[in-house]
Amino acid sequence: MNALEVAASVRAGATSAVAVVAESLERVAARNEELNVFVHLDAEGALAAAARVDERVATGEAMPLAGVPVALKDNLCVRGQPTTAGSRILAGWRPPYDATVVERLAAAGAVALGKVNMDEFAMGSSTETSAYGPTRNPLDPTRVPGGSSGGSAAAVAAGMVPVALGSDTGGSIRQPAALCGLVGVKPTYGLVSRYGLIAFASSLDQIGPFAATVAEAALVLQVIAGHDPLDTTSLPEPAPELSAHLDDGVAGRRVGLCRELVEGAEPEVVASVHRAAEVLAGAGATVEEVSIPELKLGLSAYYLIAPAEASSNLARYDGVRYGLRVDGADVEAMNVATRTVGFGDEVKRRVMLGTYALSAGYYDAYYGQALKVRTRMIEAFARAYARVDTLLGATAPSVAFALGAKTKDPLAMYLSDVFTIPTNLAGEAAVSVPFGTGEAGLPIGVQLLGPARSEARLLAAARVLEAEAGR
């Protein structure tokens, strides 16, 4: 089920949105119990929304995503629908408003089936920290789908929906896309409105698409991108033209194979990246090896900045206004009891880490230092982009790993994002595209990175790799 074909067919009246959505719901029903993808399925609402799309089609409205079923990561607010961010502390909460991306998808004719699983508050790389149980990788249910947007990736990989939205704070779109054999885009910071995205780390979070193909991902991104007056950090311009540039190719492009973005990866992953470099060179790009040593500092800076912001963003879950409340003798005791019961271990770990990093007497040594590293990283990327226009590396160090393999060792889990984090710190763009396979025939993702607003170029390069891989 390809989103472009679905939309064309629905627009042409060859099929109805209701029929498409009904089929999609059947696919969900077939595998959801096994994989634990949807944490909230709104079948009735989706069919009603599909019927409205059909009415709009009948009036001649040309919608780019007419009748396309989508899955939404459970940190995206949908009016009246349970939205938990994978946390017990938000169990039962129904937002009174829609996220901007949700509105834009609906305006474009897409039909949201419901909310899909994620690591709690997007803190994790395997979708195992969810309060609602782990999601399994559709390609091998003994393995994780990656995370934190594991539900979004699994929904597409299992064929339940052609496209899904996730969010990427340190790799949470690209890494699960890689582990599930999908295209995932982390857009430039500010390209997509964050209004209605439950914040993890505000200066790093971006919403982006998952799809089986580059063209589908590009279309969805184009629909959700563009300035939003409700998000002060959103870029001031309208959405860029992406679909029109998909076949621009890479002739004349300068690609830098980045040493720090493959170091430590499994041999098959490294081999895939090198093979990708050859393909790009074969398509007319000049490829050179580059080194950006500052990227190695990314992980440690990230694990101060993201938790620091999270410690503040998650303070509001105090039991006073919504979500879980566990009673206590007084307000403070109630706050503590609620948060103790409501948050899982990984969230608590990061809230404590972030609180500490911002505390008087420690700020300069930790958070302040991390901000300096971040600035250095931005400068280092800028120097690299003065020489090349695209960087190439791995998305994740390995293929999908087994459930439980890293849950006992947070640091090992954190290393899953070592190649993806630098892009978030710099506020730039990156795409993960499936290229090659590794252990047990599982997919490998290679990562294309570019400066801010380089999505069109990155997607065109991804398209070249995709074509080579035979899709």
Partner: protein, 476 residues
């Protein structure tokens, strides 16, 4: 006054003022006082998950107006999060400004000629409002707490003075003058009773010539009177403590207006670590120079200038007249005085009537205009109305409007002819021979007796001054 020779108090004030914007600082909810609880809220000011702040342009303008009126420099600034848990703060952090405030470095000149430095005047959001039931009325020990988030996200400017104030009276004068400036800029209504202007006072005492003492911060100062009383009390408390060999602990203290004392709220050791960091959901605020200059150009005259302007209308103003000038400016009714003077009313009379008769809420005198105020005072000046009648006409017009002469006629106020009064006086003298004899022998107090009798007989329509003249003329 309160401290012995050789000792002085050091006071710095933090004044929070709500801005008179139509909407809140970061969302489109109405910024209005007194609505049903929790009816003026949205995902943003309730801090719901996923919501994001968008800065209110008008609030920035008013903040700049305050800064410029206080001779501060408007600079590029940033917003920070001040993190602490409190039920009436929906995000459990307050968006405020920290190391880069919008306004820094200014001063305020007081009517007595002293100058108080202004360290900064920054933008921040207000919290909701808690009501604690049971216990002491404070959060600790309360049985239940109710929260109203209508105030959550209302724009505030916090104006921090330098520690330049040396007496409670000076602190009061500073707060009063600042209030006048806030009203003059259009930034605030200055209503302390509604909480739209709130003051915290930092007080310490020391021996002159020695370093400043440890300070305590006073909260719950809900009126200028509370401010002055609390500072005097606190300075005396600290002096007594130090004089008896004790040590002042740095702490936050609560002023109890009924008992007239301050008591510990929380000590420094319990103080929160606010973990300030830059607000990632907002971008830097860098007003263009042309915008700053437009705000500067739009500032009207400040109270000091307006007082000088009114005082210049008086030949040799007395202390009482200057007080009245100050009152007129505080009330913001200079316009009425100027209209009356332009219409030929004596400045003294115009200022006195404006100061005394226009003290209420402007909304309570919708019918009164500068023109009708001036016309009423002219009728008084020409003797067509007595002072009492003039005041009655003013209060009548205030409610229902109208032309003063017509209103006076409708009220039955007619100028009493002098011969009519003469006849009345003759009769009164005949009815009260003893009183007349005493007055005639020089007891001036009896003049009041006769004036009062005349007023009663004429239901206040006689002109007191004319009656006095007639009495004097009849004296032997």
């Amino acid at each position: 006054m309160s401290l012995p020779e050789g000792w002085e108090m050091v006071v710095g004030l933090e004044v929070h003022t709500e801005l008179l914007t139509r909407t809140k600082l970061f969302c489109g909810c109405a910024n209005a006082f007194g609505a049903e609880p929790n009816t003026q809220t949205c995902p943003v000011c309730l801090g719901l998950p996923g919501s994001l702040p968008v800065l209110n342009r008008r609030a920035v303008e008013l903040a700049m107006a305050i800064g410029l009126a206080l001779h501060a420099t408007v600079s590029p600034s940033t917003f920070h999060r001040k993190n602490y848990f409190y039920p009436d703060m929906p995000k459990d952090f307050q968006i405020s400004q920290y190391d880069r405030p919008i306004n820094a470095g200014g001063y305020l000149d007081l009517p007595d000629g002293s100058r108080v430095g202004i360290e900064r005047a920054h933008l921040e959001e207000d919290t909701g409002k808690s009501t604690h039931l049971g216990g002491s009325g404070r959060i600790h020990g309360a049985e239940r707490s109710l929260v109203d988030y209508n105030r959550s996200g209302v724009p505030l400017v916090e104006i921090v003075s330098a520690p330049d104030i040396r007496s409670a009276a000076q602190a009061r004068a500073y707060a009063a003058e600042l209030r006048g400036i806030l009203i003059a800029t259009g930034a605030s209504d200055g209503r302390m009773e509604e909480g739209s202007m709130r003051i915290d006072a930092n007080v310490s005492v020391h021996r002159v010539g020695e370093p400043f003492g440890t300070r305590c911060e006073m909260k719950n100062l809900n009126s200028l009177r509370s401010l002055q009383r609390a500072i005097d009390y606190e300075a005396e408390r600290q002096y007594a403590l130090v004089a008896s060999g004790g040590v002042v602990r740095q702490e936050t203290r609560h002023w109890d207006e009924d008992r007239g004392v301050t008591s510990t709220m929380r000590s420094k050791e319990e103080a929160d670590d606010y973990r300030y960091f830059q607000e990632p959901d907002l971008v830097d605020l860098a007003p263009e120079a042309s915008w700053v200059e437009a705000v500067r150009a739009g500032l009207g005259p400040m109270p000091a200038e307006r007082r000088a302007r009114l005082a210049a209308l008086l030949a040799e103003p007395t202390e009482a007249q200057l007080d009245a000038v100050g009152t007129v400016v505080d009330l913001g009714v200079d316009g009425f005085v100027e209209a009356a003077v332009a219409a030929g009313v004596e400045a003294d009379r115009a200022i006195a009537r404006a100061a005394n008769e226009l003290a209420g809420d402007p909304e309570e005198r919708p019918g009164l205009t500068g023109e009708s105020f001036a016309a009423t005072l002219r009728l008084e000046q020409t003797g067509d109305l007595s002072a009492t009648q003039a005041k009655t006409v003013l209060s009548t017009i205030a409610l229902s409007g109208g032309d003063p002469a017509t209103v006076a006629r409708e009220l039955g106020f007619e100028r009493m002819a002098a011969d009519e009064l003469e006849g009345l006086l003759e009769r009164l003298i005949a009815e009260h021979p003893d009183e007349w004899r005493r007055y005639d022998e020089g007891d001036d107090k009896l003049a009041q007796f006769f004036t009062g009798q005349v007023m009663r007989a004429t239901r206040g329509q006689a002109d007191g001054k004319v009656v006095l003249d007639l009495l004097r003329a009849r004296r032997g």
